[in-house]
Symmetry: C2
Subunit: 405 residues, 2 copies
């Protein structure tokens, strides 16, 4: 049975009003007027409980403000642009760690006034730096900033594909290279980011994009019945817990990255794989039939994962699932996909959204009660929630527009 | 009202039979007859689910076997000595990481056949290496092994008190040195270990012991109403989540370390502090009045901790609490301390012990259900459970002996 237009319209209204509330929450509580950048450790009622500034979250917040400003009429407001610029300036001034001996290396965490606290030997701080700078450059027209982003991208591709030694992680004889899903996902995301509306740049990175897609597809294992988080660089299963790890939210996020990429290239086979493998498989393995919601981690052979939080319900896998199923439905109009979307929607809005103080809780028990009640923390900022709300609102706009045609 | 001798005798019987079961479990399932060392990732029914060998756990298991062999008649069995020697040989052959550029640095994790997988930039692998080698040397009489342990200890004291650069952790401008409770606790534990029955060695390390005690005492904060996990090297409170963190199980473990140290020196004031601060304060803040059991982490100002597992009930804080309260009661005979012991005992034995397959579960939800059902994992091995059972059995022996006098 087809879902009524009324229902879709109700969804749209809810996404729209939630997005407004979330944007208000972060504008109100997170801006550090004294030192620049954003506070991201924000309690349930908006109170800052720690002043550390996590670089992933700084970069993501800049990106999100700019994307909203650039693409949605009602967010084209000076205060949003100012907030984005303040975050960008903070990052440009403080994110890099000169003492690391590598000009591109960014810190993971900074003090309120921008001194490096911790540097990770991975590429992710740099990824979110690139996203921030590229999107901010699109809004401001700052060419230097855009070439700063592209230079960092080239450094990153070098670390991933040519020589990781600049990251500072010693090569251990018992720890051979791994194809960890996060890495090609981030590269694919950055290729999309840098390429939009720039044919020459798209051309430059098209091979990196295709390579990233191939690397992501290597995670489809066991005759297509499992998406595994870590595989060998040759696409073989790895031994032990690392090799058996499943992260359903991550697979779903990869699913909509792939679907978007496939749609732009009219690649029907990749579209099919994105939906059948990266959206259907993680739901079948990852949805908690007893209490609802998506598990955080699972072991493909049914062993207990060693991550203490494996059975918790986190906000971001649900955000990614909403985007994935709505995007897939918008494209194919298969009712089953809208059914999945509705199921995730019902769980998500009844469990994560805080009607009292605004924004969403991030961390629930398996049974669905709030275990960590802050709105922002070391890994939760102004990103997954607003990106989900933004993308779903736009997808619903396009769905409802087409129906009216 | 005094607890009856019958009750104490029932406790002793339970500790004794649990210790036998736990020793049997690990002898049966954890020995790697092919490559040496121990499997430590062991499922609820004894099945090995990952072959990685965590150095902390290898070292602790060697220590525990030797301590049982050396001090308890019924464990002076050839198979226990052989198991200990096999673990010691594996560690001596593989634990050190020559490529780290530092002769003493040990890996955190090895492959089944001993290749380094991961090296932490902390001192803990080395601590458990020292414990293993020293206790094994006591059993075998191997002088070289004992001097190997002492050499590593001197290296460790140098890293902690003189120059940490050999650990390989770059100094970050926003991350000044911290007095983290684990470090002086481990040093104090090692001073005790190396000094037992060796007056010259005791003399050599007595200043390190006193310094460690002073460093631990710096964690008593807020006019004695809180034990904080991290303070500044000058003993001041640190800002943010790091500074407000409480780890009740760790405080209780420090409590019995201090009490033991104080008793040996007949230091009454330190005995009082150990009990009143390190045993009473974490119980008041850390015991879950709703569901029972000790929380893993708490924020002293009542903010939500950022650790996803903060509200879980872990086995080891309960092990440490049992030792702490029984040791304190044995010493002072204050009935309130035996009351605390009983309360922790009832929760612990009704929730953690697995009557079906033996050994204990390690990780419960706040409500007390088993969330991770393995018996061994990356941080749970043959250590906290048998050490607790062993120490409590001996404390009960001494209590019941005295009553009979």
């Amino acid at each position: 049975s087809a879902m009524s237009e009324d229902t879709l319209e109700q969804y749209r209204q809810r996404f729209r009003s939630e997005l407004d509330r979330v944007v208000d929450f972060w504008l109100k509580y997170s801006l550090d007027k004294q030192h620049g950048g954003y506070f991201t450790c924000i309690g349930k009622d908006g109170k800052v409980y720690d002043e550390l500034k996590y670089v992933w979250l700084q970069g993501r917040q800049v990106w999100m403000y700019c994307r909203l400003y650039r693409t949605m009429e009602r967010f084209r407001r000076p205060e949003i642009l100012e907030a984005a610029k303040a975050g960008g300036a903070f990052l440009q001034r403080f994110a890099r760690v000169p003492s690391s001996g590598n000009p591109g290396k960014c810190a993971f965490c900074l003090t309120r006034d921008g001194r490096a606290v911790k540097v990770q030997r991975t590429i992710f701080s740099e990824c979110f730096y690139i996203m921030a700078m590229d999107e901010l450059a699109r809004v401001t027209g700052d060419q230097d900033m855009q070439s700063d982003a592209e230079k960092m991208m080239d450094q990153l591709v070098h670390w991933v594909r040519v020589d990781p030694s600049g990251l500072g992680r010693p090569q251990m004889p018992g720890d051979p290279p791994v194809n960890s899903m996060a890495v090609p996902m981030m590269l694919l995301c950055l290729v999309n980011q840098l390429s939009e509306g720039r044919p020459a740049t798209a051309q430059k990175y098209s091979e990196v994009g295709d390579w990233s897609v191939q690397q992501i597809l290597q995670h489809v294992q066991r005759d297509g019945t499992a998406i595994l988080e870590n595989v060998s660089p040759e696409g073989k299963e790895l031994p032990g817990c690392q090799g058996r790890l499943q992260n359903p939210g991550h697979a779903l996020e990869a699913g909509w990255f792939l679907l978007q990429y496939a749609q732009e290239r009219s690649d029907n086979q990749l579209q099919r794989t994105a939906v059948d493998k990266f959206m259907e498989v993680p739901f079948l393995s990852g949805w908690d039939k007893e209490h609802g919601g998506l598990f955080y981690f699972l072991d493909v052979d049914g062993h207990c994962p060693t991550q203490l939080e494996w059975n918790m319900k986190l906000w971001w896998p649900h955000c990614e699932a909403l985007i994935a199923y709505l995007m897939a439905y918008t494209h194919s109009k298969e009712p089953a996909l809208l059914g999945r979307f509705s199921q995730v929607y019902d769980y998500t809005f009844s469990h994560f959204s805080d009607l009292e103080h605004g924004e969403w809780f991030g961390y629930l028990s398996q049974e669905g009660s709030v275990v960590l009640d802050f709105k922002g923390g070391p890994f939760k900022g102004f990103f997954h929630v607003p990106r989900c709300l933004y993308m779903c609102e736009r997808l619903l706009d396009s769905l409802l527009e087409k129906r009216q045609d």
